[in-house]
Amino acid sequence: MMRRFSSHRLFWPFAALVLLLAVNAVFNPGFWQLQWRDGHLYGSVIDILNRAAPLALVAIGMTLVIATRGIDISVGAVVAISAAVAALMIGGELVVKDGVQTHVTRYPMSVAILTALVVAALCGLWNGLLVAKVGMQPIIATLILMVAGRGIAQLLTGGQIITVYYAPFFFLGNGFLLGLPFAVFIAAVVWATVHLLLTRTALGLFIQSIGINPAASRVAGVRERLIIVCVYVFCGVAAGVAGLVISSNVKSADGNNAGVLMELDAILAVTLGGTALTGGRFSLAGSVLGALIIQTLTSTIYSIGVPPEVNMVVKAAVVFAVMLLQSPEFRSAVRGLVVRPVPGAAR
């Protein structure tokens, strides 16, 4: 069995990231510079971490879904919906209070955030029920929400971009804690919580079991329908959190464009991290690494001075490269080229 790849499972993604960072350092001398400004760290690396945070969140949720042999292509729509709900509920008006201009929210911020997350969870629940109870194929079940959800997000925002005028909300995506972007903390907390859940409870074992053999898991007494629903709910919530961070970062909610293509980036991150699309064994750390790779890639392209549209071509090339490397057929074909076949042996 091909255990070379998992001499450590994270070897290839890690190597890829290091390579990217090295390329960056070569072309961009100021890349590794960190400064302390305005009470926080400042630099390209910080930028990357900050922008990778929402993608990492979505990728974490996506990892668990993929591990159960599923997929969720509606996360982009959920990001948009969550952002729209929060933006609508917060809104923000300029009011003069006691002679000072302050922004006031329509609803308390905590309520708005909670509502957005509940709506995101409901989206996940919808997906989970379609997959687990109705028995639809995950790609088609989540395709429904992807199509309809985008419409719902546009409906909520009226097709416009809703600007949020409320400083405390901006902290999520723009604030800093202990010098690092707050968004990174959010992602880290979510990652840590999920990791604990997976390793200190039976959840990790159950998810893998379901992904490898759902029928046998059911016979063994694993409540796979419940776990599958929970996994999709979590994926929705993770997308919801990402939506909040993103809308906070850009101080607005765009029903048309928020989260577009994000599901593909998330799936790419998970695949880069070594989790197979066929489910089973998975790696959260790998997916986070994958998100970092994608973000670093984007930054590298930008800093080298290549037009950002090239980003897509490069992403494509990276996907091809990773896919081929992960394919046993490709590896043996390459080995066949490198090692000359013994003459006369049957192929």
Partner: protein, 336 residues
């Protein structure tokens, strides 16, 4: 084992019902179309005109062409996410060749068709040779094609070539004030060709076999590898042809053309009765699926009070309905 004993106990299966069972999804699709058309005719004045129905085909001709290719891919158990991007790439290359390199239409069209076909063949080869997942390969293809678009030009390039403009504006009279475009004719021809390929050629039947049970198809000695590559090649060709039709429709090349079109194509195929798991479905169904998508769009614009994003919501709801139907159908026939 269970099914064996059950049918052994009832040797004379209900004949009439059984034969029809594989047509049930298609019948369902037609029923929805009829319902929608009927409702539209009743609710909106001017709905039941020949031109309105012809416009369904005219405005969605490119979706129709792409849908044919997508039907074959899905029948074989795969998926092609690159179709929208290949359409965009086709428009961009066409615009570039015609406007900047001063090729004429009759040189450009074969060229872009060839490019699309080769693109599809490459993806198909990667999928087959290295056993890669179609989802990921065509996803990468999607990124690649659109990226290549932007490499050619970030802004849109308008096409002012005389031939293109003439084709774009050409209308073939069908009597009584109704007319049809060249693009729509191409779409109909593609559907006809697709139906013929699916039912009368070995390639078409092998596609169904692969979708039904790939291992069996291999053991039966069918040319699985060659067919799989050809399926994606066909899809690439259809995407390029759809791109040509799109170019007539929009008279420009732009990287943002046809964003998300692959989803519409998949929706049309599913609503048309093809199972996403492969092996079951009809090309003709996809035509009806496209018409249903078109009719939803038309009804919403006729209504006037609903904003255009309700289209997405309705399509999502339709998808949901059809998938439920497919689940029920699968459940009844005993398939897991």
């Amino acid at each position: 084992m269970m099914a064996a004993a059950a049918t052994a106990a009832t040797p004379a299966v209900r004949r009439g019902l059984r034969i029809d069972s594989r047509f049930v999804p298609l019948v369902g699709t037609l029923a929805v179309f009829a319902l929608a058309a009927g409702y539209g005719g009743v609710a909106y004045t001017g709905f039941f005109s020949a031109q309105v129905f012809l416009n369904l085909l005219i405005d969605n001709a490119f979706l129709c062409v792409v849908g044919v290719g997508m039907t074959f891919v899905i029948l074989s158990g795969g998926i092609d996410l690159s179709v929208g991007s290949v359409i965009a790439l086709t428009t961009m290359i066409s615009a570039g060749l015609v406007e900047h390199a001063h090729w004429n239409a009759w040189q450009t069209i074969p060229m872009v068709l060839a490019i699309g076909t080769v693109f599809g063949a490459l993806m198909g080869w990667l999928i087959e040779r290295f056993r890669l997942q179609p989802f990921i390969v065509t996803l990468a293809g999607m990124f690649l094609a659109r990226g290549l678009c932007y490499l050619i030009s970030i802004d849109s390039i308008s096409i002012t070539d005389a031939d293109y403009t003439a084709i774009s504006q050409a209308r073939i009279r069908l009597g009584d004030g109704a007319s049809i475009t060249i693009g729509a004719l191409i779409a109909l021809a593609t559907v006809a060709l697709g139906v013929w390929i699916a039912h009368a050629t070995e390639f078409g039947r092998t596609v169904y076999a692969i979708g039904g049970n790939e291992t069996s198809a291999l053991l039966m000695g069918l040319p699985v590898a060659r067919t799989r590559i050809l399926v994606y090649t066909l899809s690439g060709f259809c995407s390029a042809l759809a791109g040509v039709v799109f170019t007539f429709y929009m008279l420009s090349g732009y990287g943002l053309h046809a964003v998300g079109l692959e989803l519409d194509a998949i929706a049309a195929v599913v609503i048309g009765g093809t199972l996403l798991s492969g092996g079951v479905g009809y090309v003709a169904g996809t035509l009806v699926g496209v018409l249903i998508l078109g009719i939803v769009q038309t009804m919403i614009s006729f209504d006037g009070t609903l904003s255009s994003w309700w289209t997405r919501i309705v399509i999502g709801a339709l998808l949901f309905l059809f998938c439920l139907l497919q689940r029920a159908f699968e459940g009844r026939s005993g398939k897991g």
